[in-house]
Amino acid sequence: MKRKKITQDTIVYFINYILLTVLLVVVLYPLIYIISCSFSSGDALMSGRVKLFPVDLTLQSYQAVFKYQSIWTGYRNSIIYAIVGTLISMVLTLFAAYPLSRDDFRGKKIFTVIILFTMMFSGGLIPTYLLVKNLDLMDTIWAVVLPGAVNAYNIIVARTFFANTIPKELQEAAEMDGCTDFRFFVRIVIPLSTPIIAVLSLWVVVGLWNSYFGPMIYLNSQEKYPLQLVLRRILLLSQVNLNQSNIDPETIRKNQYLGEMLKYGTIIISTLPLMIVYPFVQKYFVKGVMIGSVKG
């Protein structure tokens, strides 16, 4: 009886390792494939000869990326939108979360309802679009940054963190000593909350960096396009502008190859910043999700 149990468990553990390894391969393979493609020649790409490792090793796709001006304009815009948007969003989130985390805060219930309701119901695409238009925010950074700045879920996560980590006695003692609420928030609460501020900022940055729908409907001028919209043109609409003034067939063929190579290069270049930061912050990510799950 006992032996049977042990063998069965051993098999289950073994199968489990196989399962995880399969998962590892399935997740890693497309990533490695894209990286390999970005180092391969246009001819190898078009004929589908790349399977796992680069074919005809070359850096041409990166050269094409570096020469493609609008990618770098997009890069700059995305960085600006991400920094400004995150600052605004974090200030608003923390300003809402701290009062709500205080037990003595009067009106806590009504404010919570006002915030939570936005999670369950929204005006929808067109009313929001018309609002942005009526506020004269079209084609400005504010249309990208402001509509989603207050996120109910982030507020709840921050509130839960404050309520669980800031000792009530500390706040009462500070109040006794004549410390105002705002001063206490800036001097004590914020320094004690770096982990949660890191997590939420990261969520907001990733969200802003990766979003394309908002910028797509609110921005008209191409020089204001964030990276994702530039990528959309290159990757999905295949609108690559390589100065095709030459009608020589050989050049056209070469440009077609270059266009294909450009796609792989841009994928790598655009995803790189998040991928570099990610291993350092992933433990915070996990923490954030867990705090969020404690109290929905």
Binding site: L23, S122, L231, M275, G296
Partner: protein, 315 residues
């Protein structure tokens, strides 16, 4: 004793007294609340447009009411031949996606939980979160490349050996959408279940081992019940989004070949308004309102059912 009196005094404070002492808290929360009133509640007021016959020159409020007691835009949507198709696609995609991604996340969480080699577990975990950071546009770009039937590594394999053109056939769209979503989100989705598993009482496992339970039995009788409350909350949250499924990804994935299966309510409402040559704002608003209302009702119903069944509702 002194503590008790203090509390009593605190209770006797009137709101005005409290406000004067703590006005800074209200000043702080005023900023986000004002922003919510502008960017969340003003559009809610804007849904009135759904009941109007919109004239740009008159504005939302002064435009006349739509025909059929203001419900004309809804009637037009429900009787439109696109409605059934969009609704079907939306429901198919979200239910399919929910049914697949939740079990996958739970299995991954259990699997990671029972991987004894800590270094290997951490490595798998880190790799599995990785795709979550890839943007929608890049992600769809990667799908298009890998599944291309000429140059893509998987697409050409299917095309050459089985004669299947994955990107060119609408019937594969839902699977492509759902399983690529699993690829991107399973690692991240597992985090929350791992948190639930970390909270399982180890004594229960020890007792089960003494009683001779096998690993699979322990998973079934100890771990799964511990995960259920979390799963129920995730289900409720997902339920509310049934009609609002990831339209950013779907919109990016759409092409001429798969439009029959990939046109969902959100993308349709976007197309009749913002990209149309004859933008129909009230119509699109009515569609959006329909979506929001169904979402709200679904959240409330699932929450109620969950409360009755297991006492784990969240509202």
């Amino acid at each position: 004793m002194s503590k008790k009196t203090k509390i009593q005094i605190g209770h006797r404070k009137t709101f005005v007294q409290y406000f004067l002492g703590h006005w800074q808290l209200y000043a702080m929360i005023a900023f986000p609340i004002i922003m919510l009133f502008i960017f969340a509640y003003a559009p809610m007021y804007g849904v009135i447009l759904a009941f109007k016959d919109y004239k740009v020159s008159l504005g939302i409020w002064d435009s006349p009411w739509a025909a059929n007691h203001g419900f004309n835009n809804f009637i037009r949507f429900f009787s439109n031949y696109n409605f059934r198709e969009c609704l079907r696609n939306t429901i198919v995609l979200s239910i399919y996606s929910m049914l697949v991604s939740m079990p996958c996340s739970i299995i991954l969480a259990l699997s990671l939980n029972y991987a004894k080699n800590v270094a290997y577990r951490k490595f798998v975990q880190m790799v599995s979160y990785c795709p979550y950071f890839i943007s929608t546009i890049v992600f769809v770009g990667i799908i298009n490349m890998i599944f291309d039937n000429r140059s893509g590594v998987i697409g050409s394999f299917f095309f050459n050996n089985l004669g299947i053109n994955i990107l060119g056939n609408a019937s594969y769209f839902s699977s492509l959408y759902v399983w690529s979503g699993v690829w991107q989100g399973v690692g991240f989705g597992a985090i929350i279940y791992m948190a639930a598993l970390a909270g399982v009482d180890q004594e229960q496992h020890e007792a089960a081992i003494i009683d001779g339970a096998t690993l699979l039995q322990r998973i079934w009788y100890v771990d799964i019940p511990a995960i259920i409350p979390t799963a129920v909350i995730m289900l409720i949250l997902n339920m509310g989004g049934t009609l609002n499924i990831g339209y950013e990804k779907i919109l990016a994935m759409q092409n001429q070949n798969n439009i029959a299966m990939s046109e969902v309510i959100s993308t349709y409402s976007y197309k009749v308004s913002l990209v149309s040559t004859f933008p129909d704002f009230p119509y699109s608003t009515a569609i959006g309102l329909f979506q929001s209302l169904v979402g709200l009702i679904l959240i409330l119903i699932t929450n109620k059912i969950a409360n009755k069944l297991s006492g784990t509702g969240f509202l």
